[in-house]
């Protein structure tokens, strides 16, 4: 189970960086060859009732969304790599120690950063919904779980810290 989880985390991180690099390339392309990129988007076909100004705004919001998504890539990298290190520690029989408590805190802060970028992403979509009176939008329901996960991670970090203290006490108990 742990080996599978570790493999999935590594694979997830590879996908994370691939997505990030792709997003970054798209953003760079939007500056270097804007016409080529905008022609690739099919807004005109999907939203035939929008005028050119609206389509440009839609394209701009999409580019902004892609840029915001790429910001979360290093934070996701931090989260996944810290979990990989914790699994490695677990395989060595070390789990309740200060290092893992600190790793969980780092994961908590990184997850908070990802949630913040998600919030900005959601705000942009709400603006789009308001501007274009569209039913398409960002669904907040699933994203509340992310905020609870942030709190949970910080609580776990404290549990690990207390666990480390208890383990040290136990090791020094004859």
């Amino acid at each position: 189970m742990l080996r599978l989880t570790r493999t999935l985390l590594i694979a997830g991180n590879i996908l994370n960086w691939m997505a990030g690099i792709s997003a970054l390339l798209i953003v760079i392309l939007s500056f270097v060859a804007p016409d080529y990129l905008s022609d690739s988007f099919t807004y005109g076909k999907e939203y035939p009732h929008y005028n050119a100004e609206q389509l440009n705004l839609l394209y701009f919001i999409d580019m902004l969304d892609i840029a915001i998504v790429s910001i979360s890539v290093p934070f996701i990298h931090i989260i996944l790599t810290r979990f990989i290190k914790m699994i490695d520690d677990l395989n060595r029989g070390l789990i309740f120690n200060k290092e893992n408590s600190d790793r969980l805190k780092t994961v908590g802060w990184s997850l908070l950063a990802v949630q913040m970028t998600e919030l900005i992403y959601g705000w942009l979509w709400f603006k789009w919904v308001l501007l274009f009176e569209s039913e398409h939008g960002w669904g907040p329901a699933a994203h509340f779980l992310g905020w609870f996960a942030v709190l949970l991670i910080f609580v776990l970090a404290e549990i690990f810290k207390q666990g480390a203290i208890m383990r040290e006490d136990l090791e020094g108990t004859i």
Binding site: E168, D169, E171, G172, T173, I174
Partner: protein, 74 residues
């Protein structure tokens, strides 16, 4: 640690080595050394009971309190 454990005097009285005591109370010699050198953070009552039984002494013969010079209460 302000609590000191003095085993050597009792070991000498009983003509017992650390190795013999460790075997008698079923702890490793390494753990007994940790006790003797004051590196232990805590001692179980069961361990203290076993030591007192084997060395025919009281806990007070083994444990003493010495206030450390950097204590906040000094």
């Amino acid at each position: 640690m302000s609590i000191k454990i003095t085993l050597d005097e009792q070991l000498h009285k009983n003509r017992m080595t650390s190795t013999q005591l460790a075997e008698a109370i079923d702890i490793t010699l390494a753990n007994l050394s940790i006790l003797k050198t004051g590196k232990a953070r805590a001692i179980r009552f069961s361990t203290l009971e076993a030591i007192c039984r084997e060395l025919n002494c009281q806990p007070g013969d083994l444990l003493s309190y010495e206030e450390e010079s950097n204590s906040l209460h000094s």
